[in-house]
C-alpha cells in the first residue's frame, strides 16, 4: 500500500511540474485554416496565436480539466472543456458570427432607419430633413419605393393598397389614430412627433407574424430608451410655437412637450382656395416617462393629447354655396410598454395601448359625433437559444368600441355602435443556417368575435447572400384585416379581408452605396363591396370583392460619389386592379399611379454652416371617372410634379434657422375632377378641376435648445 501510494505521489508530482503540450488546428466551417486566431486556456497565461496554416502549439503546466478558448474576429468564440492531456492535435471548427454587418439579412419588403439597422435606406436625420417632408416622418417615407403619392391625402398608400391597409405600431403597440384629421383635399400629417423615436422599420410587405390587421404594410416605431441629457427646446414657427423639456433622474426620465399651431396668420398672408371660417387650430401635448428596473428592465409610459378644430367652406360643383365642414377632434392616446431580460436567455415584452378619439363633425346641416375607444394588449416572449436560433411567440388582444350619433337636418337621430374584439396569437422562429442563409418562419392565428371567424396566416421569408456585397431574399405571407369601421357600423355580417404577398428582393450594398430591386405580387380576396354611392345603413354588403397588385420597386442611394452630398432615387412601377366598394367592375383605383419616382439630395456647405436639401416627386396621372365617356375610372388626370427645397442654417450650436418651400416652381398639379350630378342642356356633365388648396407652402422656423451641453440642437427635430 505504501509503495503504491508513493508511486502515485511521484506520478502526481511529475504531472504537476511537467509541461503539457497543447496543439491543434483552427479552421472555418469549410475546413480552410484560420491564421491569427487567439488560442488560450481560460484563467491562465498560457496561450498563443495560430500561424497561417491554422495550427497552434503551446505548453502549459496546468493539469486536469481546463477550458480552451479560441477567439477570432467575426467568428463565434469557441470553448472546449476537457482534460489537458486530451487537448492534443485537436481540430477546431469556428462558426462564423452571424451577427456581423456582412451577414445575410432577412429583409424582403422592409426598410430600416436608425439604431441597430444593418443596412440603412434612411438615416435618422433623413426622417426630418427631407425637403418636402415638412418634418413629418410619413412625408420622408413617401420618398421610398413602394409608396404612391396621393397629394390630397398625405397618408401612406403602399403597393396598390389603400391607406387603411397600413398599421402603425410604437414599441410593438398599435397606434389607433395616427393621423391628424383634416378637411377634404388637404393632406394630413402624422400625429406622433418624429424626435421621440430612435428607429423606424417600414415594411411594404411580407412582414413578421407578430403583426396583424394590416393588409399591405406596417410601420414600426421604436421610442428612445434613455434620453441623453436634460434640455429645453423652444421652437417658433410661421404656423405656431412649441416647447419641450426633458428631465433625468437616476433611473427615471421624463420628457414633456407641447405645441400650438394656428394657420390663421399664414392664411391671411397666403390665402388658399378654401373659405376658412376658422382656420386650423391645434393643440398637442405629449409626455414620456421611462423607468429602468434593475439592470435590463425598462418601463415606458407615453401619453399624448391633441385637439384639432377648424371650420371651412369648400367648393362643390353640385352645391353652389359650397360644402361647409366643421371639425372638432379630441384624441387621447396612452402607450405603456415593458421589456426585460431573464436568465437562460428569455426575454419579455408586454404592453398596453389605449386610445380615445372623439370627433364632432358638422357637414352642411348634419351633425355626426363619433367616439372610438380602442385598446391593444400584448405579451411576447422570446427565447434566444443561440445566435443562430431564436423563437418569439405571444398573444394579443384588440378591443374596439365604436359609437356614432348622427343627427340629420330634420332632427332625426340615428345611433350606430359595435364592438370589434380580436384575439390573436403568433409564433415565429428566426433561423441562421449560416452567415449566408437565414430564414424567418411564422404563423399567426386570429379570432374575431364580431365576425365570429378564425383566420390563420402563415408567413415565411428566406434570404441568401449571393456574393460579398449582394443578397437575394424571398417572402411569402397571408394577411387578414377586419373591414373598416365605416362598414362595420352598418353591417357586421362579414369575413376578414385578405391578401397574400409574394416578394423577391435583390440587394447590393457596398461602401455607402445601396441598390435594391424588389418585385412583388399581391392577391386580394374577400374585399368589402356595397351597392350604394356611399356606405349607408341601407346598402347591401358582401365580401365578394377581389383584386391584385404587382410591380417593381427600385432604390439607389449613394453617400460617397459626391463630396458632402447624399442622394437617393426611388422608382416604383405598379400595375393594380381591384373590384371593391361600389365598383361596377375591376378597375385601377383612383389612389394608384402606375409610375412613382422621387429624387432626394442633401448637401452640406461647411462655409455657410448650412444643409441644403432638394427633392423631386413624380407620380403619373391617376384615374377618375368621366361620366361623359363610357365606363368606370375611364380617364387619367395629368402627371404630378413637385420640386421642394429646404435650408437649415446653424446660427450657433444651439440655434437653427430653417426655411422650407414645397413645390418651389408652383407646378399646377391636379388632384382629380368633380362632375355635376346632372348633365346640362347639351347632355354634357360639367366638371370642376380639384386642385391642391395651395400650390406652394412656405415654412420658416427658429429652433433653440437650452442644455448644459452647448452643442445640442434640434436639427434632428426638423
Amino acid at each position: 500500500m505504501k509503495q503504491f501510494l508513493f508511486l502515485l505521489f511521484i506520478l502526481t508530482q511529475l504531472s504537476l511540474t511537467a509541461q503539457t503540450t497543447i496543439s491543434g488546428k483552427v479552421t472555418d466551417n469549410k475546413g480552410l485554416p484560420i491564421g491569427g486566431a487567439n488560442v488560450y486556456l481560460d484563467g491562465t497565461y498560457d496561450g498563443t496565436a495560430t500561424i497561417d496554416n491554422g495550427t497552434f502549439t503551446f505548453t502549459t503546466e496546468e493539469t486536469g480539466e481546463q477550458t480552451l478558448i479560441v477567439s477570432f474576429i467575426s467568428f463565434e468564440t469557441y470553448h472546449l472543456t476537457d482534460l489537458v492531456k486530451n487537448l492534443k492535435n485537436i481540430t477546431i471548427k469556428l462558426k462564423e458570427d452571424v451577427n456581423t454587418l456582412d451577414a445575410v439579412i432577412v429583409n424582403a419588403g422592409s426598410f430600416k432607419a436608425g439604431e441597430n439597422a444593418k443596412v440603412t435606406a434612411l438615416k435618422p436625420l433623413d426622417i426630418v430633413t427631407t425637403a418636402g417632408a415638412m418634418g413629418d416622418f410619413i412625408g420622408a417615407l413617401q420618398t421610398l419605393p413602394g409608396t404612391s403619392n396621393v397629394a390630397e391625402d398625405g397618408r401612406l398608400f403602399v403597393r396598390g393598397g389603400d391607406a387603411e391597409e397600413t398599421q402603425i405600431f410604437v414599441d410593438g403597440m398599435r397606434v389607433f389614430s395616427p393621423y391628424s384629421p383634416t378637411a377634404n383635399n388637404i393632406p394630413t400629417r402624422g400625429r406622433l412627433s418624429p424626435f421621440l423615436f430612435k428607429g423606424i422599420t417600414f415594411s411594404t410587405g411580407g412582414y413578421s407574424a407578430e403583426y396583424g390587421q394590416a393588409l399591405s404594410s406596417v410601420l414600426l416605431l421604436n421610442s428612445i430608451d434613455e434620453p441623453e441629457e436634460e434640455r429645453t427646446d423652444i421652437s417658433l414657427m410661421t404656423v405656431g410655437a412649441g416647447i419641450g423639456n426633458t428631465q433625468k433622474w437616476k433611473k427615471n426620465s421624463l420628457s414633456i412637450n407641447a405645441s400650438y399651431i394656428n394657420l390663421k396668420p399664414y392664411q391671411e398672408l397666403y390665402p388658399d382656395n378654401n373659405e376658412w371660417h376658422k382656420p386650423v387650430q391645434s393643440f398637442g401635448g405629449e409626455a414620456v416617462y421611462r423607468h429602468k428596473i434593475n439592470n435590463n428592465g425598462l418601463l415606458k409610459l407615453y401619453g399624448a393629447f391633441s385637439t384639432v378644430n377648424f371650420d371651412v367652406t369648400q367648393e362643390d360643383i353640385n352645391i353652389q354655396e359650397g360644402i361647409r365642414f366643421g371639425m372638432k377632434n379630441r384624441n387621447l392616446y396612452f402607450n405603456t410598454s415593458y421589456k426585460d431580460f431573464f436568465k437562460n436567455d428569455w426575454s419579455i415584452q408586454t404592453g398596453l395601448s389605449y386610445a380615445n378619439d372623439y370627433s364632432d363633425l358638422d357637414i352642411i346641416d348634419n351633425t355626426v359625433q363619433d367616439t372610438e375607444n380602442a385598446a391593444h394588449l400584448k405579451l411576447k416572449l422570446s427565447k434566444f437559444y443561440n445566435s443562430r436560433f431564436r423563437l418569439n411567440f405571444g398573444a394579443e388582444y384588440f378591443i374596439t368600441n365604436f359609437n356614432e350619433d348622427y343627427t340629420a337636418l330634420n332632427e332625426d337621430t340615428y345611433n350606430y355602435t359595435f364592438n370589434n374584439n380580436i384575439t390573436a396569437s403568433f409564433a415565429e422562429a428566426n433561423i441562421f443556417f449560416s452567415k449566408k442563409l437565414a430564414a424567418n418562419i411564422g404563423l399567426r392565428g386570429e379570432y374575431s368575435s364580431l365576425l365570429n371567424e378564425f383566420t390563420a396566416s402563415p408567413r415565411a421569408s428566406i434570404a441568401y447572400k449571393s456574393g460579398a456585397n449582394s443578397q437575394v431574399s424571398l417572402a411569402y405571407g397571408q394577411f387578414y384585416q377586419n373591414p373598416r369601421n365605416e362598414y362595420l357600423k352598418f353591417n357586421t355580417n362579414f369575413s376578414a379581408e385578405n391578401t397574400s404577398h409574394l416578394i423577391a428582393n435583390y440587394q447590393y450594398v457596398k461602401n455607402k452605396q445601396i441598390f435594391r430591386a424588389e418585385a412583388y405580387y399581391k392577391d386580394y380576396n374577400n374585399l368589402v363591396k356595397y351597392n350604394t354611392e356611399q356606405p349607408l345603413p341601407t346598402a347591401n354588403y358582401s365580401n365578394n370583392g377581389a383584386g391584385f397588385a404587382k410591380g417593381l420597386d427600385l432604390f439607389w442611394r449613394d453617400n460617397k460619389t459626391i463630396k458632402n452630398t447624399e442622394y437617393w432615387v426611388s422608382y416604383s412601377y405598379l400595375d393594380t386592379e381591384r373590384d371593391y366598394k361600389n365598383y361596377p367592375t375591376k378597375a385601377t383605383p383612383s389612389f394608384a399611379s402606375q409610375h412613382n419616382a422621387s429624387v432626394v439630395i442633401k448637401h452640406f456647405i461647411s462655409n455657410l454652416k448650412s444643409q441644403v436639401g432638394l427633392s423631386y416627386n413624380f407620380a403619373s396621372g391617376r384615374n377618375y371617372t368621366d361620366p361623359n365617356k363610357n365606363g368606370f375610372l375611364n380617364s387619367k388626370a395629368k402627371n404630378y410634379n413637385a420640386v421642394n427645397a429646404n435650408w437649415a442654417y446653424l446660427i450657433s450650436q444651439q440655434k437653427i434657422l430653417y426655411f422650407s418651400v414645397s413645390n418651389v416652381f408652383g407646378t399646377q398639379n391636379i388632384n382629380g375632377y368633380q362632375f355635376k350630378n346632372q348633365s346640362n342642356s347639351n347632355g354634357v356633365f360639367e366638371s370642376r378641376t380639384i386642385r391642391p388648396a395651395a400650390d406652394r407652402f412656405f415654412f420658416v422656423g427658429f429652433f433653440w435648445t437650452i442644455s448644459d451641453n452647448k452643442k445640442d440642437n434640434q436639427l434632428d427635430n426638423l
Partner: protein
C-alpha cells in the same frame, strides 16, 4: 528521502483525521494563493510589458490577443480588458470597410463592458467609450453623428462630474469641444484654457498604479502649442 513525511500526511489523511484534513487544506490553500499571487504578479507584468511592446511596434492584433489572455487570467483587474478594447478602438480609425469597422468595435465594446463591470464609473473607461463612439462618427457622421454625439457629450459630462481633476477627461472633452467650435467658427480660447489646465494636472499626477493609462501629456502639450500659435497670430 524527503518525500517520506508527505507520504505520511497522505496516509493520515486517508485515515480520516478530519480536523487535520481541514488544516491541511487550509495550509495548502494559503500556500497556493501565495504562490499563485507571486507568480501571477510576475507573469502579469511580463504579459503586460510584452503587450505594450507589441502595441508600440504596431502589432495591434497580437497586442489585443495578449491583453485578452491576461484578462481571463486576471479576472478582477480592469486594465487588461480596458487595453484590449482601447487598442482595438484606436486601430479602427481609418478602417474603410463598415463590416470590419463594426466587427472591431463590437469586439472592443465587449472588452470595454467587461472592464466596466470590474470598475464601475471609471473615468478612463468612460473615455474609451467616448473614443469608440468617435470612431463610428469619424466613419460616417451623417449616419452615426446624430445619435452618438449626444451620447458622447453625456459621457464627458458624467466623467467630468466623477473626476473633475482627471487630466485625460479634461483633455478629451476640450478636444471634442474644439472640434465643434472650429466648425462654428467660434473662439478656441476657452478650450485652450482647459488644455492648459490638463497639462498642469498631467504634470502633477502621481503615477502609483502600474500600467495605469497615465499617458496624454505629449498630446496635451502638442495641442497647447497649436493654441499658443493661434493666439500669437491674432
Amino acid at each position: 528521502m524527503h518525500n517520506q513525511p508527505k507520504v505520511m500526511i497522505f496516509e493520515k489523511a486517508i485515515n480520516n483525521n478530519i480536523k487535520f484534513n481541514k488544516m491541511k487544506k487550509l495550509a495548502l490553500l494559503v500556500a497556493f494563493v501565495c504562490v499563485a499571487s507571486v507568480t501571477a504578479q510576475t507573469q502579469y507584468e511580463k504579459g503586460m510589458t510584452k503587450a505594450f511592446e507589441l502595441w508600440k511596434n504596431k502589432k495591434n492584433i497580437e497586442a489585443v490577443q495578449i491583453f485578452e489572455r491576461i484578462s481571463t487570467a486576471e479576472k478582477e483587474n480592469w486594465l487588461p480588458p480596458y487595453y484590449a478594447a482601447t487598442v482595438e478602438i484606436i486601430s479602427a480609425f481609418g478602417v474603410k470597410d463598415e463590416a470590419v469597422l463594426t466587427a472591431k468595435l463590437n469586439k472592443a465594446k465587449t472588452f470595454l463592458d467587461a472592464a466596466d463591470k470590474l470598475s464601475e464609473n471609471n473615468p478612463e473607461i468612460l473615455m474609451s467609450y467616448a473614443l469608440l463612439n468617435t470612431a463610428y462618427i469619424a466613419f460616417d457622421g451623417q449616419k452615426y453623428g446624430m445619435t452618438l454625439s449626444g451620447k458622447n457629450v453625456a459621457i464627458y459630462n458624467k466623467a467630468l462630474a466623477l473626476a473633475p481633476n482627471n487630466p485625460r477627461v479634461i483633455l478629451s472633452k476640450a478636444e471634442w469641444d474644439m472640434g465643434a467650435a472650429k466648425f462654428f467658427g467660434q473662439p478656441l480660447e476657452p478650450f485652450c484654457k482647459d488644455v492648459k489646465k490638463a497639462v498642469e494636472l498631467f504634470k502633477k499626477e502621481e503615477q502609483t498604479i502600474k500600467f495605469y493609462p497615465y499617458s496624454g501629456l505629449d498630446r496635451a502639450e502638442k495641442i497647447m502649442k497649436n493654441c499658443e500659435k493661434k493666439s500669437s497670430q491674432n
